[in-house]
């Protein structure tokens, strides 16, 4: 469902292709099993690689003896951290504004002096078969000096806690997110707090003193995994000229290349990364894990090597998102005006610094027009997997906390939760706590649409047999991003265009890019054939992430098409022997503006290019500004069985301002997918650790993601308030959908059974405990 709004100042363009729903170009390969994903490459002479992982959460590595493994028939190579290049403090831009400390990155890929979590990679082997590689791993002897671990974020912050990095640099700004080690001259006491910072607007202290009502609450969340169905895999082969080819799926082939090159100590041009189809990423495939390992094994073995992860390794050896402890305080007046806000977030970074606590503090109050706000963030290392980005990193957790408090305030003030949000909603001109001021945004429009929707208007039927039902509402915000992106478009003599762009396609983006080209040139979407280029064949394109692809790659594709248009106009002018100013192109046709009014269709002109001056290729390299933030508002209905604590989501509507929906089906898909992940996060997903730091539930059996039987249909209501900063008005869509669901469900559960739950997941035992605590029975 799409609701277009009138838009002052931006002409409501009459698009021919944008907004339609063509079949995606890569769809045929995917529904027939022909599409190649990261583990689908088989090369002649290929060896299989497996990684040895730490059985301890915290230990010093005394010695690694791989002699017996190497002696096993069929084993070709073994590597350890000694095979990696020595790292300095250099940082690499990951493209989402995040940066990387290459020393830490290298140590996470393969532990150097210490292992810092159970599952931390320690060594790797290449052998004739996968089974043989596993047998070889068992023959590697690692001598560990086991150390005391620390797992809880608040415990890790206390003085005297075991230190993961003796000389961890403690920053008081959020801008050195990847962290680092202290200078030798720095003798400050050691800590697990990598950074601690504050943003403040106005004078919250005074503002709270003036408030009629204040609510202050604490919240806790657990690490959750992105849960992509495709495990990581990487295949590498070296040429005799010292150049390597790497096949992998990732969210950024350039990131895989650059990070691998740095870790190996070679020039980036020596590695060509060919992006395969990617089976889900959600932020988790933006760092290298297996890629440098595959390269090093292949180099040592002199043969191609494919390294894979099992599902258990994915859970235990890659990056979930942070567990957290949070405190939120909101002050309001009796008339419903929010007057003051304060938030404190302590996020677990895992083994190395870099939790998303900064975006967490920046997003948490962003939906509201507040003048007096203070947010404080702590990035804390603990002996768990180093966290990686997960869809709107940092925002889902902090918005869970804030939106729950908003709901509580609304109840205490006796104001409808939507009214409260409308009264205080962020709009053009609102300043965020971190400084930036909003341009044209669509939060209030989204609320208005929600108010007239049946899901809001129709009352909920309270009782269903022995179960009770409730309804909850929550908002969410995500900045969205941009970055460099390139596109090349070739005109073929049959009147079609092939488009090469640089964004791995997670959700249908190559179709979006083709549609942008088709729109400019007046073609059908089917006549533009998109593909994703490798690191040699397309210019640098930053990661598929940050909800940036429709924005930056859509823009690059648009510009490449404009380049073709200019050249077609020149060519027609040359053929007609007129000045190019006499030619215009509209709707796929080139027209002579006056005189004999000659015409070329795109197809006719394309057919004669080779004989009239040569082929036409359009290109673009962009790094566009003008990103527009995304707001979402969700309504969730739940059914709770008070005897068992089971919560079922029975109805869900997600409203979101997407700017312009280039391909509405895939925009809906992003919304529905984010909602589904949020529901899993809300109800059942969490990393369960034993006392020694072992992840107990590292399988899809006990890491419980929603199945088709656990979800209702998810209605995605697309609201379009075009972003003036983009040629088609695009706003990123992919991430904000995961932000509201946890609070929407928590608020719905409160509506159903009258208990507020402030920890995630809201699983059956948690609901039962909350019910018993409320009615005082407190027993089983």
């Amino acid at each position: 469902m799409i609701r277009k709004l009138d838009d002052k100042g931006i002409s409501k363009a009459n698009y021919k292709v944008i907004g339609t729903r063509p079949i995606r170009h890569d769809g045929l390969d995917k529904v027939t099993g022909q599409a190649k994903y990261s583990a689908d490459i088989n090369l002649p002479g290929m060896l299989y690689g497996k990684v040895l992982r730490s059985p301890h959460a915290h230990a010093r590595i005394r010695n690694i003896d791989a002699g017996k493994a190497l002696a096993l028939k069929g084993v070709s190579a073994v590597i350890t951290s000694a095979d990696f290049s020595i790292q300095s403090d250099k940082v690499i831009d990951l493209g989402e504004g995040a940066m990387v400390n290459t020393g830490f990155l290298s140590q996470n890929v393969m532990a150097k002096e210490k292992v810092l979590y159970k599952g931390h990679a320690v060594a790797a082997v290449a052998a004739e078969s996968m089974h043989l590689a596993e047998e070889a791993l068992a023959l590697i002897d690692v001598d560990y000096d086991v150390l005391s671990p620390v797992f809880d974020v608040r415990e890790a912050m206390k003085p005297g806690a075991p230190l993961l990095h003796e000389r961890l640099y403690h920053s008081s700004t959020p801008f050195i997110r990847p962290g680092g080690l202290k200078d030798d001259s720095d003798n400050s006491p050691g800590s697990n707090i990598a950074s601690h910072f504050v943003f403040e607007l106005g004078n919250p202290k005074n503002a709270f003193a003036e408030a009629d009502i204040i609510v202050e609450r604490e919240f806790q969340t657990k690490p959750v995994h992105q849960g992509y169905i495709e495990p990581h895999a990487a295949t590498a082969i070296w040429n005799r000229d010292g150049k390597a080819t790497l096949w992998c799926s990732s969210q950024g082939q350039f990131t895989m290349r650059d990070q691998s090159a740095v870790l190996l100590g070679i020039a980036t041009s020596n590695i060509r990364v060919i992006p395969l189809e990617i089976g889900g990423g959600f932020g988790g495939k933006t760092l290298v894990y297996l890629e440098p390992i595959a390269l090093l094994l292949a180099k040592k073995a002199g043969r191609p090597v494919k390294v894979t992860m099992s599902r258990k390794e994915v859970f235990e050896g890659t990056g979930p998102t942070s567990g957290s402890f949070m405190r939120v305080k909101l002050g309001a007046n009796n008339d419903g005006k929010l007057v003051a806000a304060e938030g404190v977030l302590a996020y677990e970074a895992g083994a190395f610094p870099g939790s998303p606590v900064n975006p967490g503090v920046q997003c948490m109050f962003a939906s509201y027009d507040l003048k007096d706000v203070r947010v404080e963030g702590y990035d804390v290392v603990v002996n768990k997997q180093k966290v990686a980005a997960y869809r709107a990193p940092g925002s889902p957790g902090s918005c869970f906390a804030v939106e729950t408090v908003i709901d509580e305030l609304a109840e205490k003030l006796n104001i409808d939760p939507l009214e409260l949000r409308e009264k205080n909603g962020a709009k053009e001109g609102t300043r965020r706590v971190s400084g930036p001021v909003f341009g044209k945004i669509g939060y209030l429009e989204t609320i208005k649409i929600a108010k007239s929707h049946p899901h809001y208007i129709e009352p909920i039927k309270r009782n269903a047999g022995s179960k009770v039902r409730g309804r909850g509402i929550a908002s969410g915000f995500w900045f969205n991003g941009s970055g460099p992106a390139c596109a090349i478009a070739n005109v073929h003599s049959d009147g079609t265009v092939s488009l090469i762009e640089g964004s791995p396609d997670i959700g249908g983006s190559r179709a979006m890019a083709a549609m942008c080209v088709a729109e400019v040139l007046g073609l059908a979407a089917e006549d533009v054939h998109p593909s994703v280029g490798d690191t040699d064949s397309i210019g640098y394109t930053s990661n598929t992430g940050g909800s940036s692809v429709a924005f930056k790659t859509g823009w690059a594709s648009y510009e490449a098409a404009q380049d073709i248009k200019r050249q077609l106009i020149e060519r027609a002018a040359r053929i007609w022997d007129v000045d190019p100013g006499q030619v215009e192109m509209d709707n796929g046709t080139l027209n002579e503006k006056s005189g004999t009014r000659r015409q070329f269709t795109f197809k006719n002109l394309a057919a004669v290019l080779l004989s009239t001056g040569g082929p036409i290729v359009g290109k673009a390299a962009v790094d566009p500004a003008g990103v527009g933030g995304a707001f979402a508002l969700h309504i969730a209905d739940v059914e709770v069985d008070p005897e068992t604590g089971k919560v079922d989501v029975i109805r869900y509507t997600a409203f979101q301002d997407v700017g312009t929906a280039v391909h509405p089906s895939y925009v809906e898909g992003q919304i529905q997918g984010g909602v589904a992940q949020g529901i899993g996060w809300a109800l059942n997903e969490e990393y369960v650790f034993s006392e020694d730091g072992t992840m107990l539930n590292s399988s899809f059996l006990d890491y419980r993601m929603p199945t088709s039987l656990d979800l209702p249909m998810i209605e995605a209501v697309i609201v379009e308030v075009p972003n003036p900063g983009h040629p088609f008005g695009v706003r990123g869509v992919g991430e904000v959908p995961i932000v509201p669901p946890m609070a929407a469900i928590a608020n719905a559960v409160y509506d159903a059974i009258g208990v507020r739950i402030r920890r995630l997941p809201i699983n059956p035992p948690t609901v039962l405990e909350a019910i018993w605590a409320k009615d005082g029975s407190g027993r089983g």
């Binding site: 040895l52 992982r53 730490s54 059985p55 159970k118 599952g119 089974h131 596993e134 047998e135 791993l137 068992a138 590697i140 690692v142 099992s310 258990k312 235990e316 005897e643 068992t644 604590g645 089971k646 079922d648 109800l683 059942n684 369960v688 107990l696 539930n697 059996l701 006990d702 419980r704 929603p706 199945t707 039987l709 656990d710 699983n763 059956p764 035992p765 039962l768 405990e769 018993w772 027993r779 089983g780």
Partner: protein, 297 residues
């Protein structure tokens, strides 16, 4: 994680006769395992759970694939009969709906086409989804070895978590169920955090028989799962119901007594308090449904 996930290679045989299978079971002793659906054992093999040399695929053995029912002898389910064959069988649907309840709940459709109740029983998981149903229905495991046949009541089959009472060289051949009595009904249910695909947090199987007026309970068997080292027959709770009128109080009373033999643990699937509470809730609900079936509702 080092060394704990090697899958060593093994020998595989698919004997066509019971004798041949027993021969393998006997000569390899503790290093032989039977393969039916494979949905438990392959996962365990990959987790390096056993030291196994010979995998005996029993799916081609006629006796283990038989499914037969007569009103006088009751039901016999071969150990290798997959769940899907059980719940698609109209005679079983009619006469043993409790067994259908359980078979239909094991895993998703892909699992149900392969998994067997024989395998589920031999796997002897404390939370095995068919075992409380087998116990409630008074099932007997028919076991064979070179030494001959013996039968083991379902409630005695599991001797510890993941440990069954089979001796080396023995093979489960079939599971026998007595014929349903007049005015009897049974039900199996479980609690899981999602709606499919989970291991039971707690499960309960109940079978009872009513008098001809359908007001009084003449006999009852209540079985609990996932709340002890093995599935349990709640004898005292079952006996409590004998001679009692059907009433909420009596059902609730039985459910409370059933809790007394439960000794749940807290793990990644549930907590002690939750499981204990669920014993009460599920027992009551199972009793209600079993009574409905007994009344012919």
């Amino acid at each position: 994680m080092q060394g704990d996930l090697i899958l060593k290679n093994f020998q595989y045989s698919a004997p066509l006769t019971l004798d041949q299978a027993l021969q393998y079971m006997d000569s390899f002793g503790s290093k032989a395992k039977a393969l039916a659906g494979g949905t438990d054992i392959l996962v365990q093999l990959r987790g390096n759970r056993f030291d196994m040399e010979m995998l005996v695929d029993v799916k081609s053995i006629p006796e283990l694939n038989e499914l037969s029912y007569t009103d006088s002898a009751g039901l016999s389910v071969g150990a290798a009969v997959p769940c899907v064959r059980i719940y698609e069988d109209s005679l079983i649907q009619q006469n043993y709906p409790c067994l259908v309840d359980a078979a239909y709940l094991i895993g998703g459709i892909q699992i149900q086409g392969r998994a067997t109740i024989g395998g589920n029983l031999c796997n002897a998981s404390p939370s095995g989804d068919t075992i409380p149903a087998l116990i409630a229905l008074g099932a007997e495991a028919i076991v064979c070895s070179k030494r001959g046949y013996r039968s083991i009541p379902a409630e005695d089959f599991c001797v510890g978590p993941g440990q069954n009472g089979l001796e080396n060289g023995e093979l489960l051949v079939s599971i026998k169920f007595p014929p349903p009595k007049l005015y009897s009904g049974a039900h199996f249910l479980r609690f899981i955090p999602r709606n499919e695909m989970d291991i039971a947090v707690a499960n309960v199987g109940v079978a009872l028989t009513l008098d001809s007026n359908k007001q009084t309970i003449e006999s009852a068997r209540i079985a609990l799962g996932a709340v002890g080292p093995t599935p349990l027959l709640a004898t005292t709770a079952s006996d409590f119901l004998v001679g009692k009128e059907i009433s909420d109080d009596n059902l609730y009373g039985a459910a409370e007594i059933a809790k007394q033999i439960a000794s749940p643990i807290t793990d990644m699937r549930g907590t002690i308090n939750q499981r204990m509470h669920l014993v009460g809730v599920l027992t009551k609900r199972a009793l209600q449904k079993a009574i409905e079936r007994a009344k012919g509702v």
